[in-house]
């Protein structure tokens, strides 16, 4: 096995391309990708959704899907040419030599099979365990990945496990047969920060034991901790690749720099942060720029449509979004060039850019404006609300317990907590969607939560919701005009309503030409802007934002956060901002309330809470946030840069 030689790469990929034939033409999801990975090394592939990173990973397992055409100059694993493998040979490789971990173990483990059976499957199909020995092996594996009470968990179903335990079980199933390479596709995306830190620790442990890791993520901060090498993908191409330390400290490609700038930080509160960054009125959204949803071809599998005509071959794919783009960028594709001095062991730092490492013009950033004036009048007063639910086993569970806070006019209050902490239930009580068991909510000092719906209706317009998943809150057959126009109160002729809707779109930085689109043909960022426009239509005093950017790519996320910050200044709305992401809250909010198990554990000004948390739980949350150390320089040991606590 060539993987035993430390110098020979375990995995070698050159010129990998994956194309899908669809009704709308050929979609070239992955183009000319070079990767190489040695045993015990971690390569991180980073990019936004649709960048082709998952397709690349699946191609390495021969699972690019029906209709995929995979071509490569080199595609070798452990010295074997993968291009010539037949179906049976692929199957013998999968699970046994290459393990695969997907995100969200709730759907990646068969929900109808016991956890033990799922973990055992790889051993079973490869005939690696005798039947009477199988259970013991599975229990040993579960113990190895840090699942407590493996003998109990073994017989449970995935839904009976917490998210973290599920992900551990999924990892156990992927490493069961002792693969030399573990491909992990967004392994921590659906997890809370503390659990995320633990799962990353587990992967780090595997690498220490000699398993090579191919880590795929949309989040640079997550991979910064583990990666030896980083490859940044955009629109199906690797635009920059190099040793992690060099790439993160001195990014050569403007997209990498944008990604780094968009990572919500916890450390530099006074620096002009990314919220005031690339958001520009009428600015095109990320997916727009690359001709994705809304383009003439329509969305296909969430991938950018790359025409095979002359247009496909001209220019840098990032040019439409790039602050540095000039005529040459738009007309000819930049070839890969070496950049900087590379890694300590002479690894190459490659970039596809005509202007590698150049400072982006400061004009692309909005200058920070004067802080918003917060009036000392509470628009929403939450007084000791409690909500209990009955569990299936008959016991009563406290979703929200004795929570009190005030939201002042014009203020942005962050409500932070992990899943199940009661933050969304609190939001729904504030919106008077559900009635608290005890306690009250006052709106403008008047009763709100205890009223009959009939008495509330006239004041509903004062408090509006922006959801995590706007698409499901739109009627799919409505055009944007109807979605937004419907929310404008009062009777008026259709033309005036359309004008109002157009004005609202302008307010959230969308082109009024989108009025006639249906939501399905908008990009994720555009949808969220439409949702915000709709929420603004009745002229509310309060916007309740429930995880408004969780489903978005980091660069788009930064744009939406910037928009919310601007609307706060211009429209003077107060924000009740619910998020599991501390970095996001840090950017948007003045004050923060931390929830755990239905109770408020800490409330205070953002700066104070993040600098000196009083509650132990807040400190734990903060410590678990992955971050890129700003002081880190090329040549430093990459995985020492990020300090994390709380991993097993």
């Amino acid at each position: 096995m060539s993987g035993d030689h430390p110098s020979a790469p375990l995995l070698e990929v050159a010129g990998l391309s994956v194309a899908f034939a669809t009704r709308h033409g050929v979609v070239r999801a992955v183009r000319d990708v070079d990767l190489s990975l040695r045993a015990g090394e971690c390569l991180a592939v980073v990019g936004e959704s649709g960048s082709g990173k998952s397709v690349t990973a699946r191609a390495l397992l021969g699972l690019a899907g029906a209709g995929a055409r995979v071509t490569a100059r080199t595609l070798a694993f452990e010295g074997r040419d993968l291009r010539t493998l037949g179906g049976g040979q692929w199957r013998r490789l999968r699970g046994r030599r290459i393990g695969y971990v997907l995100q969200d173990a709730l759907t990646s483990l068969d929900p109808l099979r016991r956890v033990g059976l799922e973990v055992a499957e790889a051993l079973e199909v490869h005939g690696l365990a005798r039947r009477d020995d199988l259970d013991d092996q599975v229990i040993r594996l579960l113990t190895e990945v840090g699942v407590p009470d493996p003998r109990v968990r073994f017989l449970q179903y995935p839904h009976e496990l917490s998210g973290g335990l599920r992900q551990r079980a999924l990892i156990a199933s992927a490493i069961a047969a002792g693969p030399a390479l573990l491909v992990a596709d967004e392994p921590t995306t659906a997890l809370d920060v503390t659990v995320q830190a633990q799962v990353l620790g587990l992967l780090e442990e595997r690498r220490r034991r000699g398993t090579a890791l191919l880590l795929i993520s949309h989040d640079l901060a997550v991979v910064a901790r583990l990666a030896d090498q980083v490859a940044v993908m955009f629109a199906g191409e690797v635009v920059e690749r190099g040793p992690a330390a060099a790439l993160l400290s001195s990014p050569a490609h403007p997209y990498t720099a944008d990604l780094l700038a968009a990572v919500p930080g916890l450390d530099d509160p006074d620096a002009p942060d990314a919220t005031d960054g690339p958001e520009a009125p009428h600015g095109p959204d990320a997916s727009d720029a690359r001709g994705g949803p809304g383009g003439p071809g329509g969305p296909v599998r969430g991938l950018p449509i790359v025409r095979t005509g002359p247009a496909a071959t001209t220019g840098c794919p990032y040019a439409p979004r790039c602050a540095l783009a000039d005529d040459r960028c738009r007309s000819e594709p930049p070839p890969p060039v070496s950049y900087g001095e590379g890694g300590p062991e002479g690894e190459d730092h490659m970039v596809r850019c005509f202007h590698p490492g150049r400072e982006r013009p400061a004009a692309a950033f909005e200058t920070p404006v004067a802080p918003v004036r917060v009036k000392n009048r509470a628009v929403v007063s939450v007084r000791g609300i409690t909500k209990r639910y009955r569990s299936p086993d008959g016991s009563r569970r406290t979703a929200v317990g004795d929570v009190s806070f005030d939201l002042r006019a014009g203020e942005a209050l962050g409500l932070v907590g992990e899943s199940g902490s009661g933050k969304s239930t609190t939001a729904r009580i504030v919106l008077a969607e559900i009635v608290p068991d005890t306690g009250t909510v006052l709106l403008d000092g008047e009763p709100w939560s205890g009223l009959r719906e009939r008495d509330r209706r006239s004041r509903r317009s004062r408090i509006q919701l922006v959801d995590q998943d706007p698409l499901s809150s739109f009627d799919p057959r409505f055009t944007v005009e109807r979605v937004v126009g419907e929310a404008v109160p009062g009777r008026m002729p259709r033309r005036r309503r359309r004008e109002r809707a157009a004005a609202l779109l302008g307010q959230v930085g969308l082109d009024p030409a989108l009025l006639d689109r249906v939501p399905a043909r908008l990009s994720g960022g555009q949808r969220q802007r439409v949702a915000i426009a709709r929420a603004l239509a009745p002229g509310p005093e309060v916007l309740v934002c429930d995880e408004p950017v969780s489903a978005l790519d980091v660069t788009v996320q930064a744009q939406i956060l910037a928009l919310l910050a601007r609307l706060r200044r211009e429209a003077g709305v107060a924000l009740l901002f619910i998020s599991h992401d501390l970095g996001v809250v840090r950017q948007v909010c003045d004050r923060v309330a931390v929830m755990k198990d239905g109770r408020l554990v800490e409330t205070g000004a953002v700066a104070d809470v993040f600098r000196a948390p009083r509650a132990a739980y807040t400190a734990e949350l903060l410590a678990a946030v992955p971050r890129i150390d700003p002081g880190r320089t090329a040549g430093e040991r990459p995985h020492a840069a990020v300090t994390l606590e709380g991993h097993p």
């Binding site: 699970g95 695969y100 997907l102 969200d104 483990l109 109808l112 490869h126 839904h159 047969a177």
Partner: protein, 311 residues
């Protein structure tokens, strides 16, 4: 009370309510049809019964009493599981049903097994395979849109008259059961195959199927060990419908194949307005329906552990 016991109690109470409703509708239906019940009992209009005979019948069957009293009596007998005597056959209804139910059960059970089996096999083989799927869909649509009796006649023509593999009529031995079962099962299999295949395809699209593939599992294993169970839920939901199809179908199929069975009895009873027999069959059908639905409800929990936790 544990949740399961609570659920079962609720379902059984609901069953009693359904039985009462079915019996009441049967009672009302037979009484609302114009005509004199006494004449029916005496042997129909053609029998030319004398007024004396009719009077005697009215006394004996309590037909002079107000309808409310008749209804109360009827329910009282039903509570004691007494279905009364057949007007036409002169024998207790329970015995009439008892003699015929065996043949019908064999037919229905055979058809159900064949229908489900055929559907699962077809769906597993053709899910996610466009060409096979197109072929299978064409066959399924044919079998769905062809009435039982016509399928029966075609089967008879092909396998009995032409090939001589199976007996033409009668109900002796398992060989005689094959064609009637097939005639009854084919339309059911057509619908179930489509539902099963859709469930399979949805399951095969899920991340866990990709995970299983990444473990090196064969396509067959992924379909049978993983996806099939996911497809079971919508199919289970259709069980009530299947039962209805079977009940309605037996009447036709028993006629086409000249078999003994409840279908035959019902047709004769309705035509002759044999009120106790019709009521007996209706109440029995309602009971079977309810029990099957309770069984399906329990099977849901077995098929999907998440439902057991949520209910």
């Amino acid at each position: 009370m544990p949740p399961l016991a609570r659920r079962l109690t609720r379902r059984l109470a609901l069953t009693l309510f359904v039985l009462w409703g079915a019996a009441t509708f049967a009672f009302a239906g037979m009484r609302l049809v114009p005509g004199d019940p006494a004449r029916v009992i005496a042997g129909g209009v053609q029998a030319n019964a004398t007024p004396q005979v009719l009077d005697a019948i009215r006394d004996e069957y309590g037909l002079r009493e107000p309808i409310v009293v008749q209804y109360a009596r009827f329910l009282g007998r039903l509570l004691r599981a007494d279905l009364g005597g057949s007007y036409q056959l002169g024998r207790p209804v329970s015995r009439v049903i008892g003699e015929q139910i065996g043949a019908t059960l064999a037919l229905a059970a055979g058809a159900a097994a064949l229908g489900f089996g055929l559907a699962v096999a077809l769906a597993t083989l053709t899910a996610g395979r466009p060409r096979l799927r197109a072929l299978s869909r064409a066959v399924e649509f044919c079998s769905i849109s062809t009435p039982n009796f016509w399928i029966g006649i075609l089967l008879l023509a092909a396998f009995s008259f032409h090939l001589g593999w199976f007996p033409v009529i009668g109900d002796d031995g398992p060989a005689a059961l094959v064609l009637p079962c097939a005639a009854l099962a084919l339309p059911i299999a057509g619908v179930l195959a489509q539902v099963t295949r859709e469930g399979l395809e949805r399951a095969l699209d899920q991340p866990f199927a990709l995970t299983a593939r990444a473990r090196g599992a064969t396509e067959h294993r992924i379909r049978v060990r993983h996806a099939l169970r996911h497809a079971a839920l919508p199919v289970l939901t259709l069980s009530g419908w299947v039962l209805g199809e079977l009940l309605a179908g037996t009447v036709v199929v028993e006629t086409v194949f000249a078999r003994q069975g409840l279908g035959h009895v019902v047709v004769a009873a309705v035509r002759g307005r044999d009120f106790p027999v019709v009521t007996g069959v209706v109440v029995l059908s309602a009971l079977v329906f309810s029990l099957i639905n309770i069984a399906v409800d329990l099977l849901y929990g077995l098929a999907d552990p998440r439902i057991g936790a949520a209910a």
